[in-house]
C-alpha cells in the first residue's frame, strides 16, 4: 500500500514537474471581476466608439481624439493607472512632400556641365535628405556589402564624401541559386538598404538606377510625388511614422540620360553589369564626372496618441515585467463628398471598436480584483493601425517599459461577429506556449477554437511586438462582408460572444501574468 502510494506520489510529482509551466500559481481572478465582462457594459462602450459622432475614427482626426479621451476616461474610472503621469503614449505621423529646390547636374572631366530634369531624368526618393552636395561620382555596382555571401561592391573603394552610383536589385537576380534572386526578397535588393549602405560607407549622396539588363523600364520612378503629376492629388501622400530622424543623404533614382552622360551609353553600362553578373565579382571604380545634387522635401507632422493604462503587478520579484493587452481603436474615417442620403461613415464596429471594447472590459475586470496578478498588465489602445500598424510600431520603438521585460502581448482585432462559438487564434505556431495557455483556459469558456488564419499574422498590431521577439497571440472572430464598409455597424455585434472572447483573454492573460516562467516566441516572421 505504501509502495503503491509512493508510486502514485512519484507519478504525481513527475507529472507536476512536466506540467509546472502551465500550473497556475499566485492569486486567482475573482468571480466578481469575471462578471464585469458583460454584454451591457460591452454594448455601452461599443455604441460610443462606433457612433457616427466619431466619424469613423480615422488617424489622425478629431473623432479619433474623442475616442482616445473616452478610453483614457474609462481607465481612470476603473483605477487603471497612467504611465509617467499620462494615459497617452505620444508619437508623430508625417507626410513628406517635395520641396522647391531639387536639381541634378553632372560635370564631366572637361568641366562641361549638363543639367537634368526632375521626373524625366531623375526622381528624389521619399527618404531623401534636405541637402546639397558637389562631389565626384563613384560607380559602386549593386551597392551591396554581404560578407555572408562573400560579396562586397564597396571593397577597396573610397566613397567618403562622394556620390555613389548603384544599380537596383542584385547580381544574378534571375538565377534561383543566387542569394540575390528576386524571389528571395532579400533586403539587399531594396533601395532603403542601398541608401543605408552608402551612408555606412560615408557617401555624400546616392544615385540609383534601374539595372539596364533586366529592368522593363529605365524611367526614373522612385517615388511618385503628387506635385509632379497633373492627376495625382496631394492628399495621396502616404503617412509615415516620424521617429527620430535616421541619418539621410540626398538619394535619387536616375534614368537613361544620366546613364548616357556618365557611361557614354546604356549598352556600356549593360556590359559592365554583365561582367559583374557572370563572375559575381564586383567591378566598382571612380567615374570621371562630378555631380551637383540638391534634394529638398517638406515634412508635415501629425501628433498621434496611443492610450495606455497600467495595472501594477503584486509580486515584487516580477512586477517590473508586463503583459500587454492591446487592440487598435482607429478605423478608416468616412467618405468625403458623399451624397447626403448615403451612409458615408465607416463606423468600424467590429473593426475594431469590438477589440477596443475588449481592452476596456479586460481593464475593468483586472482592476476589479483586490489582489492583482504577479506581473503588471499594460493596456494599450493603438492608433494608426489601419494606416500601417503605426501605433504599435511607435510603441515598440519607444516603449514605456523595456521590451526585454515585456513577457507577452495579447491582441484583439475584430472579436464580435460570425458564429456565436467561434474564435480564431493567430500566432499559435509562433507562440506555442501562449496558444496552449489559451486552449487550457478555454475549458472554462467553451469557445470553438480555430487555427485557419495564420496568413493574417502580419495584419494587426501584435506583429509589431513579434518583430521585437515578444510572444504574441491574436484573438479574432474572422472577417465579415462588412469589413471596411460603411455597413460595419454596432447592431451587428454579438455582445455575448464578444464577452466570452474577452473572458478567455482575461483568464489567459491573468495566467500568463502569474506563470513562473516566460512564454517563448519561436518565429517572429
Amino acid at each position: 500500500m505504501k509502495k503503491g502510494l509512493l508510486f502514485l506520489t512519484l507519478l504525481f510529482l513527475v507529472g507536476f514537474g512536466c506540467n509546472v509551466f502551465y500550473t497556475q500559481k499566485g492569486p486567482q481572478p475573482s468571480s466578481q471581476s469575471f462578471e464585469t465582462i458583460n454584454p451591457v457594459a460591452a454594448e455601452k462602450h461599443l455604441a460610443f466608439l462606433a457612433s457616427d459622432s466619431l466619424l469613423g475614427r480615422d488617424t489622425p482626426s478629431p473623432g479619433l481624439e474623442l475616442a482616445a479621451e473616452y478610453i483614457a476616461g474609462r481607465f481612470a474610472e476603473y483605477g487603471v493607472q497612467p504611465v509617467n503621469d499620462s494615459y497617452f503614449h505620444n508619437f508623430n505621423l508625417s507626410q513628406v512632400s517635395l520641396g522647391d529646390s531639387n536639381t541634378l547636374e553632372l560635370i564631366d572631366a572637361s568641366g562641361k556641365t549638363k543639367a537634368f530634369r526632375i521626373k524625366r531624368d531623375y526622381m528624389p526618393y521619399g527618404m531623401t535628405a534636405n541637402g546639397k552636395t558637389l562631389a565626384p561620382v563613384v560607380f559602386a555596382g549593386y551597392g551591396i556589402s554581404a560578407p555572408e555571401y562573400d560579396y562586397d561592391d564597396y571593397a577597396g573603394l573610397d566613397v567618403k564624401g562622394k556620390v555613389v552610383f548603384v544599380f537596383k536589385r542584385g547580381p544574378q537576380q534571375e538565377n534561383p541559386a543566387s542569394p540575390f534572386h528576386l524571389k528571395k526578397d532579400s533586403h539587399y535588393l531594396q533601395a532603403k538598404y542601398k541608401i543605408d549602405n552608402a551612408i555606412e560607407h560615408g557617401a555624400a549622396a546616392v544615385l540609383i538606377t534601374s539595372d539596364p539588363l533586366h529592368s522593363i523600364s529605365l524611367k526614373p520612378r522612385g517615388f511618385a510625388w503628387p506635385s509632379l503629376y497633373k492627376f495625382i492629388p496631394d492628399n495621396a501622400l502616404p503617412f509615415t511614422l516620424a521617429m527620430e530622424e535616421d541619418e539621410k543623404i540626398p538619394s535619387i533614382q536616375v534614368g537613361k540620360k544620366v546613364i548616357q552622360s556618365l557611361f557614354g551609353s546604356v549598352d556600356e553600362l549593360k556590359s559592365i553589369q554583365k561582367s559583374i553578373d557572370s563572375t559575381m565579382t564586383p567591378n566598382s571604380y571612380p567615374l570621371d564626372s562630378r555631380a551637383l545634387l540638391q534634394t529638398s522635401t517638406d515634412r508635415q507632422l501629425f501628433p498621434t496618441r496611443n492610450v495606455v493604462g497600467l495595472l501594477k503587478g503584486s509580486d515584487p520579484a516580477v512586477q517590473d515585467e508586463v503583459v500587454v493587452i492591446g487592440a487598435h481603436y482607429d478605423h478608416v474615417g468616412f467618405i468625403r463628398n458623399a451624397p447626403a442620403e448615403q451612409d458615408s461613415i465607416y463606423n468600424g464596429a467590429d473593426d475594431n471598436a469590438s477589440g477596443t471594447t475588449g481592452v476596456l472590459l479586460a481593464a475593468h475586470a483586472f482592476a476589479h480584483n483586490e489582489i492583482k496578478p504577479g506581473r503588471s498588465i499594460l493596456f494599450i489602445a493603438f492608433a494608426g493601425e489601419e494606416k500601417g500598424l503605426y501605433g504599435s510600431k511607435a510603441y515598440t520603438e519607444t516603449p514605456l517599459f523595456p521590451l526585454e521585460k515585456t513577457v507577452a502581448m495579447f491582441n484583439m482585432d475584430m472579436i464580435g461577429r460570425n458564429h456565436p462559438d467561434s474564435l480564431t487564434l493567430i500566432g499559435y505556431k509562433r507562440s506555442p506556449d501562449l496558444s496552449k495557455i489559451v486552449k487550457k483556459q478555454n475549458k472554462k469558456v467553451g469557445l470553438t477554437l480555430a487555427y485557419d488564419r495564420e496568413f493574417y499574422f502580419g495584419n494587426s498590431d501584435h506583429a509589431s511586438f513579434a518583430r521585437k521577439d515578444i510572444p504574441v497571440i491574436f484573438f479574432c472572430t474572422k472577417e465579415t462582408p462588412d469589413l471596411h464598409k460603411v455597413t460595419d455597424h454596432a447592431d451587428k455585434i454579438d455582445y455575448h460572444k464578444l464577452c466570452r472572447v474577452v473572458r478567455l483573454l482575461y483568464l489567459s492573460a491573468w495566467y500568463t501574468a502569474n506563470m513562473d516562467e516566460r512564454p517563448v516566441l519561436t518565429s517572429k516572421n
Binding site: P226, F231, I232
Partner: protein, 276 residues
C-alpha cells in the same frame, strides 16, 4: 484642255485609290459563335515606400463570343469564359488561380462595326475577387479585345492613324486611354485557313483616370507604347489573330481609407487566336 486634264487626273487617282481597297468591318453573324484563345503575360514592377515588388502574371483564357444582333452600326454580343487561369509569381505570392466562379457566366459587349467598344456589362453576376482587377478584370478584357478598324477602306499597303480615346470603366471609375497609333497594311496572306489582311501597328498611348471603390479613391496617370500585328479576314469580318506587346509607366495614387502613391511599370505581351 487644262480642265479636262485635271478631271482625268482626279478620275485616275480615285480609281487607283479604290483598286484593291479593302473595307475592314466586323461582320459577326447574329447567332454565330467565335472561340478565341488568349494567352498573355505581364511583368509588373511596383515601388512602394522604397520597396520594389516584381510580379510575373500569366493568364490563359478561352472565351466564346456569340453575336446576338446587329442594329444600325452596333453589334450586340455576349461573351462566355470557358477557361480562365491566372498564374501569379512574385517574391510574396506564387500561385495559380482558376477562376471557376467566372466560367459560363455571360458578359454583354456592345461595339461598333469598327471595333469601338461602347459598353461591357455582366449578364450573369459572379463574385469579383481581388485578382479580377485591372488587366485581369474579366470585363475590361473586352474594351480592347478587338482591334479598332479604320472607317474608310484601306489599300493593301495603306497607312492610317487611330487617335480616338477609349473610355474604360473599371474599379468604380473611368480610365481614358488615348492612343496615337499608326497602322500599316502589309498585304494579304492566308493565316490559320483564312484569307487575311496583315496589319502592323506601332504607337504611343496616354492613360489618365480616377475612380472610387469600397472607400478607396484611385487616380491614375501615365503613358506607354504599343506595337503588334493582327490578321483580319475582311470577307468574314473577323479577326483571326492578334500579337500584341505594350509597355506602360503609370503612377497610381490611392486616397480614402489609405494613402499611397505607387509608381508602376509593366510590359504586356499577348497572343489572341481564333480557334473555332
Amino acid at each position: 484642255m487644262k480642265n479636262l486634264f485635271y478631271v482625268y487626273l482626279i478620275i485616275l487617282m480615285v480609281s487607283l485609290a479604290f483598286s484593291g481597297d479593302i473595307s475592314l468591318q466586323y461582320k459577326l453573324e447574329p447567332g454565330s459563335s467565335y472561340k478565341y484563345k488568349v494567352d498573355s503575360s505581364v511583368k509588373m514592377v511596383q515601388e512602394m515606400m522604397g520597396q520594389e515588388n516584381v510580379s510575373d502574371i500569366k493568364s490563359d483564357v478561352l472565351v466564346t463570343l456569340t453575336a446576338d444582333s446587329l442594329k444600325d452600326e452596333t453589334l450586340f454580343l455576349h461573351a462566355v469564359y470557358e477557361d480562365f487561369v491566372i498564374d501569379v509569381s512574385s517574391a510574396r505570392i506564387d500561385t495559380t488561380l482558376s477562376m471557376q466562379d467566372l466560367l459560363n457566366k455571360r458578359i454583354k459587349v456592345e461595339m461598333t462595326k469598327w471595333g469601338n467598344t461602347l459598353d461591357v456589362a455582366t449578364i450573369d453576376t459572379f463574385p469579383k475577387t481581388q485578382m479580377m482587377q485591372g488587366g485581369s478584370d474579366p470585363e475590361q478584357l473586352f474594351y480592347r479585345f478587338f482591334p479598332k478598324l479604320p472607317v474608310e477602306s484601306v489599300s493593301q499597303d495603306g497607312v492610317w492613324q487611330i487617335t480616338d480615346p477609349d473610355t474604360i470603366e473599371t474599379m468604380g471609375g473611368k480610365v481614358v486611354v488615348t492612343p496615337d497609333v499608326e497602322y500599316t497594311a502589309m498585304g494579304t496572306e492566308t493565316w490559320n485557313g483564312h484569307e487575311c489582311l496583315k496589319v502592323k501597328y506601332v504607337g504611343d498611348l496616354t492613360l489618365e483616370g480616377e475612380g472610387s471603390q469600397q472607400g478607396f479613391n484611385f487616380f491614375m496617370e501615365g503613358d506607354g507604347s504599343v506595337e503588334g500585328t493582327y490578321y483580319f479576314d475582311a470577307k468574314q469580318g473577323v479577326v483571326v489573330q492578334i500579337d500584341n506587346s505594350s509597355t506602360q509607366d503609370v503612377t497610381i495614387a490611392i486616397t480614402g481609407q489609405q494613402n499611397l502613391t505607387i509608381p508602376q511599370s509593366q510590359v504586356v505581351s499577348s497572343k489572341t487566336v481564333l480557334v473555332e
